[in-house]
């Protein structure tokens, strides 16, 4: 499946832009593909066990993947994955 991954600016500089085309059948596979292509980004998206961090929320379209199986959430052609890390500035 071909999906678009959207990164916030703080992570986009570790990749080659803030919208990256990727492939995979689950969100985890998409993240794996991105982590292989941009090693600096991989460690910011998943922990040593390959799981998402509790302070980085992944949206599949507008749904939080935590409520849809986490990285096992299946993606469809044209889906959008948006990564929203916690920020605290005020």
């Amino acid at each position: 499946m071909s999906v678009t991954l959207h990164l916030p600016a703080v992570l986009a500089r570790l990749a080659d832009g803030n919208a990256i085309e990727s492939t995979g059948s689950t969100v985890g596979e998409v993240v794996g593909d991105i982590a292989t292509r941009f090693p600096g980004l991989g460690a910011r998206l998943r922990d040593a066990d390959g799981q998402p961090y509790p302070f980085v929320t992944f949206y599949l379209n507008d749904e939080d993947i935590r409520f849809h199986g986490g990285f096992a959430a299946t993606v469809s052609d044209g889906d959008e994955v948006t990564i929203v890390p916690a920020i605290a500035g005020g």
Binding site: V10, P54, D64, I87
Partner: protein, 383 residues
């Protein structure tokens, strides 16, 4: 509040709020609800500034503000509650004066303290709605948990660089901040606005959205951001919302296993951080003395290149923090190494990393280049 018990509006207030009174969804009853409302703003900084100004102008009757800082020159690029003449004054003194000028009908209640587990419930209990305009994760989790425990809506906003978030948490059936982010990032991973910067108008955008949500909650109109997270990217000029679901396993609002406030510094890992003080450090004065007498010291600045261009120490070299792990070949384990950044936090992380991979003769510059400017060479500008 029943209409009969709402406060009346004076003739002056009728003139002042005319543009609200002719809005059918506000009208006199809505304006009286605003006058009766008690709203607590946590933080009188970037978000707190537009919040306080617009809520005061709108006629919210009582505004509580929690802050303990003084106004600094570097605040003025975004904290429009304060002015140049306020530099050095307490932010709350400045806020009270400005609010009284905007709308003398507003009663301000100043809480000049850091919000802590010891005082949060007592302060928050006094208000109808809480607005989170803080600048750190520990206070955000504290605010969230206190609001959940007390059943007070928490109007959330957060900013970093060019991007911002807003939502409404802790309403009766809605999710809370922990449903969105169960745990904070480890200290040092996410730079603060002081380290990473923030576009000055961004808190204006997010703060006015928070103010809008507060007013909607008071009036009981419209669709609030409960269950939705608004994401703003000011560079891309995009606004979008995503869903925030109430997590049945959330320890705060789901299982309710959090029955009292905890130690939020500990929860956010603050005592265990490689922050300034927990790694070997050297003062600016001592480093200057070592350099003056010609000691062989490799001074490495781990800030970003654009910070280096603003100010740097003669004789230092630049390796931005994220490049330190890949630059070990250029750092001699036999030489004394001093790592520096703006205030000492990022360089402490770098010291910790180098020590972790076997370097022994490595120190952190206490207080960073700020301390160097203050204690050694005032020609190095502060920023």
């Amino acid at each position: 509040m029943a209409t009969a018990t709402l406060p009346d509006l004076t003739h002056e207030e009728l003139r002042r709020y005319s543009r609200h009174l002719i809005l059918p969804d506000v009208a006199i009853e809505g304006q009286r609800k605003l006058k009766a409302a008690r709203v607590l703003i946590i933080g009188a900084g970037g978000l707190g500034s537009p919040l306080a100004l617009y809520l005061a102008a709108a006629g919210v009757g009582t505004l509580g503000i929690v802050d303990f800082d003084t106004v600094e020159a570097s605040n003025l690029q975004r904290q429009i509650l304060h002015g140049t003449r306020d530099i050095g004054r307490s932010k709350l003194a400045s806020a009270r004066e400005r609010i009284a000028d905007v709308n003398p009908n507003v009663r301000t209640e100043l809480h000049e303290t850091r919000l802590t587990s010891a005082n949060a419930l007592e302060i928050i209990r006094q208000y109808d709605i809480v607005v989170d305009g803080t600048d750190n994760f520990a206070t955000r989790y504290l605010t969230n948990d206190a609001c959940v425990l007390l059943g007070k809506p928490n109007v959330y906003g957060s900013i970093f660089r060019f991007e911002g978030q807003a939502s409404v948490f802790a309403t009766a059936d809605g999710p809370c901040y922990r449903c969105l982010y169960p745990e904070p990032p480890p200290p040092g991973l996410v730079p603060s606005c002081a380290e990473g910067g923030v576009l000055g108008v961004l808190p204006g955008q997010i703060g006015t959205i928070q103010a809008t949500e507060v007013i909607k909650l008071i009036l009981g109109i419209g669709n609030s951001l409960v269950g939705r997270l608004l994401l703003i990217d000011s560079l891309a000029a995009t606004y979008r919302t995503v869903k925030v679901r109430k997590d049945p396993w959330c320890p705060a609002c789901g299982t309710h296993e959090i029955r009292e406030l905890i130690d939020y510094d500990e929860f956010c890992g603050i005592p265990n951080t490689p922050a300034a003080g927990t790694v070997p450090q050297i003062s600016a004065v001592d480093l200057a003395e070592r350099l003056r007498r010609g000691d062989d010291v490799d001074v490495i600045d781990v800030r970003e290149e654009y910070e280096w261009e603003i100010a740097h120490i003669d004789g230092a070299r630049l390796i931005p923090l994220e490049h330190v792990p890949s630059s070990l070949a250029t750092i001699d384990t036999a030489r004394d190494v001093v790592l520096i950044c703006k205030s000492g936090a990022r360089s402490a992380a770098a010291v910790s990393h180098l020590r972790g991979v076997g370097y022994r003769k490595v120190w952190n510059l206490k207080g960073g280049i700020d301390a160097w400017s203050e204690e050694v060479d005032s020609n190095v500008p502060r920023y």
